[in-house]
């Protein structure tokens, strides 16, 4: 795996600014980042990409010192910083931005920058230093265009300006290594343009390591790119090399791709075929009446992207996939329908022809809407069995007319569908693997006897074999006539499940199409443009997949199907 990544970085013969040597990080039983080695020369513009849960933020936090690695060493500018606390790494020249803009909300903009630019900051608290320092702050303020706001508390700035302030704070440290965690999240195109200009114009004395989902920004800024996929290194190279890498295309870049191009797709397709073969032989009956009707949806929270004027219908028995870039508002949409997040006027939510009860957060669930949330949200401290008991108990005595209509879910039936859980019943759920946790989240949702199943990124962070299993189980549910609303980055999974796709873009619905239309070029290109994944179409180049990668993926997929 190390072969692919050294190609780009050894080319540059300059001094090394950042060297990672076998760095990994485990959280309990979960390995967020497998052993990774990387070498960035001074002045590099390097990007980390990969689907959610790939370990990108973990890696950034390991370099910044917010986390310490489980194994490996981190060398910055010739010094081993592996065991240094974050503040000493900062003094060693590492500046960073956080995933959510980390500014001092109550302090005025000028004070935020003053703290960042303070000379000899840190150890001995003294008086605020003199005019020279104030001049420096004024210069930075001017450079980032925040002079007009210097007295405004940072918390009152718009989201975009907070991002800019945070970047200015990181720059005011005069870092030699700048770590940026999703700097474009929540910014509009104009702001992303400004960000690109600002970063492009940074001097070569600053090395940049950047995590972002906005691929246009990556392609225009990065000289080299590393792709991570559920904690594994997938590829490192120039943007062109990475874009051409089939493994990368399959894992991340190529929505909808050729079903047989790689192992993952094969596994998923097989799973779908199995499901179709056993239960969807006959074409599905056309969807029933409207089950969920969303009108004029408006929702959001503190500064982050807001949904506005979203209309959506989900029919009884229909499967709808919600697509969109990170930050497009997918999770907000799903959480709002599931009652986890309040809606704002003039939103109207109708359920089965009547207003959806949202007065208490548990009422949508009682009405028959079940959520498999992003990140799974397993209850810490509960065993697998207790999760199932909890879901059943919550609905005991609940007035669920759906029970009369559909066959009620029992623990036995759920374990038939998800046999992996049966052996794990007495185990604490937080010790399960990611795949098992996802199965548990699904089981928990099903036991609430839903008529609409909402899934938020069900394949996130899972191995291909597990994704195949999960897709198979879900396809069966869809075939049985359960209505499904799913947000999914893995387009193979999304198209395998859904009858219809909708694409969210910056809080609005930008596209709606039947899933089968994605086979055609027009809708597909439109979709790729919306998802920000353009580039040369894949001419399948299986020989360029690192051999061990392909073998591993195929093996995993096969074991998952057994």
């Amino acid at each position: 795996m190390t072969t692919a990544m050294t190609t780009a970085t050894t080319a540059a013969k300059t001094t090394s600014m950042l060297r990672l040597d076998g760095v990994s990080r485990r959280f309990g039983g979960l390995t967020a980042l497998h052993e990774l080695s990387l070498d960035l020369p001074a002045g590099a513009r390097h990007a980390l990409i990969g689907p959610n849960g790939a370990g990108k933020s973990t890696l950034l936090n390991l370099i910044a010192g917010t986390l310490t690695p489980t194994t490996g060493t981190i060398i910055v500018d010739g010094r081993d910083v592996t065991r240094l606390p974050a503040r000493l790494r900062a003094r060693h020249g590492i500046g960073r931005s956080f995933q959510h803009p980390a500014v001092f909300q109550r302090l005025p903009v000028a004070a935020n920058l003053a703290l960042a630019a303070m000379p000899g900051r840190g150890d001995i608290p003294g008086p605020i230093s003199g005019p020279q320092h104030a001049d420096g702050v004024a210069q930075v303020l001017d450079a980032v265009g925040l002079t007009d706001y210097n007295r405004t508390p940072a918390g009152q700035l718009s989201y975009g300006l907070q991002r800019r302030l945070e970047l200015a704070m990181a720059l005011a440290q005069r870092p030699r290594l700048l770590l940026l965690d999703e700097p474009s999240a929540g910014l509009d195109p104009a702001q992303i343009g400004q960000l690109t200009t600002l970063l492009t114009n940074l001097g070569a004395d600053t090395t940049i390591l950047l995590v972002d989902h906005h691929l246009d920004l990556i392609w225009s800024l990065a000289q080299t790119v590393t792709v991570l996929h559920h904690g594994h290194h997938l590829a490192t190279g120039t943007p062109d090399q990475v874009r051409a890498d089939p493994a990368v295309r399959d894992a991340y870049l190529n929505p909808g791709g050729h079903p047989n191009a790689t192992a993952t797709a094969t596994a998923t397709a097989n799973a779908t075929a199995n499901a179709n073969g056993t239960e969807r032989l006959a074409p599905r009956t056309s969807p029933g009446p409207v089950l969920l009707r969303v009108r004029q949806l408006r929702a959001g929270y503190h500064g982050a992207p807001v949904l506005d004027k979203v209309d959506l219908d989900v029919h009884d028995g229909e499967a709808v996939a919600v697509l969109g870039r990170n930050g497009a508002g997918k999770t907000t949409l799903l959480n709002t329908v599931a009652g986890l997040q309040p809606v704002q006027t003039p939103t109207r939510l109708e359920w089965d022809g009547r207003a959806l009860p949202t007065r208490r957060p548990h009422l949508p669930a009682r009405a028959g809407i079940a959520l498999v949330p992003q990140g799974r949200r397993i209850f810490t401290g509960l065993t697998v069995r207790e999760h199932l008991v909890c879901a059943l108990a919550a609905h005991r005595g609940a007035d669920t007319p759906s029970q009369a209509r559909t066959q009620a879910w029992t623990v036995d039936r759920v374990l038939d569908l998800l046999p992996a859980l049966a052996a794990r019943l007495p185990h604490p759920a937080q010790r399960l693997s990611g795949g098992e946790q996802q199965m548990l989240a699904l089981a928990r949702a099903l036991l609430t006897q839903p008529r609409l199943l909402i899934l938020d990124e069900p394949s996130e962070g899972l191995a291909p074999a597990v994704i195949a299993q999960l897709t198979q189980a879900l396809s069966g549910l869809v075939a049985d006539g359960l209505a499904v609303l799913v947000a999914e980055q893995n387009l193979t999974v999304a198209t395998a499940l859904a009858d219809r796709i909708i694409v969210l873009d910056r809080g609005h619905i930008a596209m709606t199409a039947p899933a089968r239309d994605l086979d055609q070029d027009g809708p597909r290109q439109h979709l790729q443009a919306l998802l920000g994944v353009s580039g040369p179409t894949a001419t399948a180049a299986a020989d360029r997949v690192p051999a061990d990668d392909a073998a591993q993926l195929t093996g995993a997929a096969e074991s998952g199907l057994r």
Partner: protein, 331 residues
């Protein structure tokens, strides 16, 4: 449930308003100062003694505000350091024979700082509501020590102290009026010290730590060292308040460092919405409610204090709800 919470400023971290010394405020300050100076010449002895209590509580409220409103560490235990300072000053006066008030003030402040430095390793391992719990526990344990260590502290009987002198050779301040003016002078000194402190880099870093510790660390700051320094400053301020307490009453008992004292200081700080001036005004208000209004209600001061706590606790929630209601009516 967390998702449905209204997004408002956390109570432990009220919005800080930056001082803009406008002439109107200067005038107001001068008027307050004049009124405070004139008080012993126009008011009766009882009112003057209440004003002395208000000054002591104002110092303690500033100490509490430094932690609660600025560093984001809600403290329900600053009376512990007041107590350490007070017993130090009292022992200095009785056993040590040092009657000079200013020496007592300085030594008491140092003792408060030392006590804070000793307890900081314990308390600074907690944040938020756990800090509140732990600080309360530390204060109650300190009070228990004061009550049980009777060979030194006189136990529950307390200690009587002689009046303080201002300068070597000058007569002690026996009358309540002079003692009050002495307290007022000391208070002004402390206000100047606090004003300087507020403009320091330390306080800036403390405010930043309350907002985002990880960000501050990522900028290269040693967060805990700053919190430690802030905590010690707060302890010194509370210790100085203890010296003033002894000078004001000439008597000290474990009850003076009980929950009431810490709770009233916290209430004053909450009234002050994160500002020092607000905390001082809050302290005056709290003492006025308890002692001026409490007397005519026939000893129901605790009930009045309880109501004051409830008013301060519910005020932001009620204000927000009224605003929402008004907006929905306008629509």
């Amino acid at each position: 449930m967390t998702t449905t919470r209204p997004q408002t400023t956390p109570a432990a971290a009220p919005v800080h308003r930056y001082p803009r010394w406008r002439s109107r405020q200067l005038l107001l300050g001068a008027a307050v100062m004049l009124a405070a100076l004139a008080l012993p010449f126009v008011a009766d002895a009882y009112t003057v003694s209440i004003a002395s209590t208000a000054i002591v509580l104002a110092v303690l409220a500033m100490s509490t505000q430094l932690l609660t409103g600025i560093a984001g560490l809600p403290s329900l235990g600053q009376a512990a350091y007041l107590g350490v300072g007070a017993y130090t000053a009292a022992l200095l006066a009785t056993v040590g024979g040092v009657s000079n008030g200013l020496v007592q003030l300085a030594v008491a402040a140092a003792a408060g700082a030392v006590a804070a430095a000793v307890t900081a390793p314990l308390l600074l391992r907690t944040r938020g509501v756990l800090f509140l719990m732990a600080s309360f526990a530390v204060a109650e344990l300190t009070r228990t020590i004061a009550a049980q260590w009777s060979s030194v502290t006189g136990g529950d009987d307390g200690l009587h102290t002689p009046p303080v002198t201002v300068w070597p050779g000058t007569p002690p301040l026996r009358s309540d009026g002079y003692a009050y003016l002495y307290l007022l002078g000391c208070f002004l000194i402390l206000v100047v010290v606090v004003a300087v402190l507020l403009r320091s880099r330390l306080v800036l870093a403390l405010r930043a730590a309350a907002d985002h510790e990880a960000r501050l660390a990522a900028l290269g700051y040693h967060v805990n060292r700053h919190l430690f320094a802030g905590f010690v400053c707060a302890g010194a301020l509370a210790g100085a308040g203890g010296a003033l307490l002894v000078a004001a009453h000439g008597y000290l008992s474990p009850a003076d460092l009980g929950l009431d004292m810490s709770a009233m200081a916290l209430l004053a700080a909450a009234i002050g919405l994160g500002t020092m001036r607000g905390a001082v005004a809050g302290a005056v208000l709290v003492v006025a409610v308890r002692d001026l209004l409490g007397t005519p209600t026939g000893g129901h001061a605790p009930a009045l204090l309880g109501l004051a706590f409830l008013v301060v606790a519910y005020q932001p929630a009620i204000t927000d709800r009224l605003a929402t209601w008004k907006r929905s009516r306008q629509r």
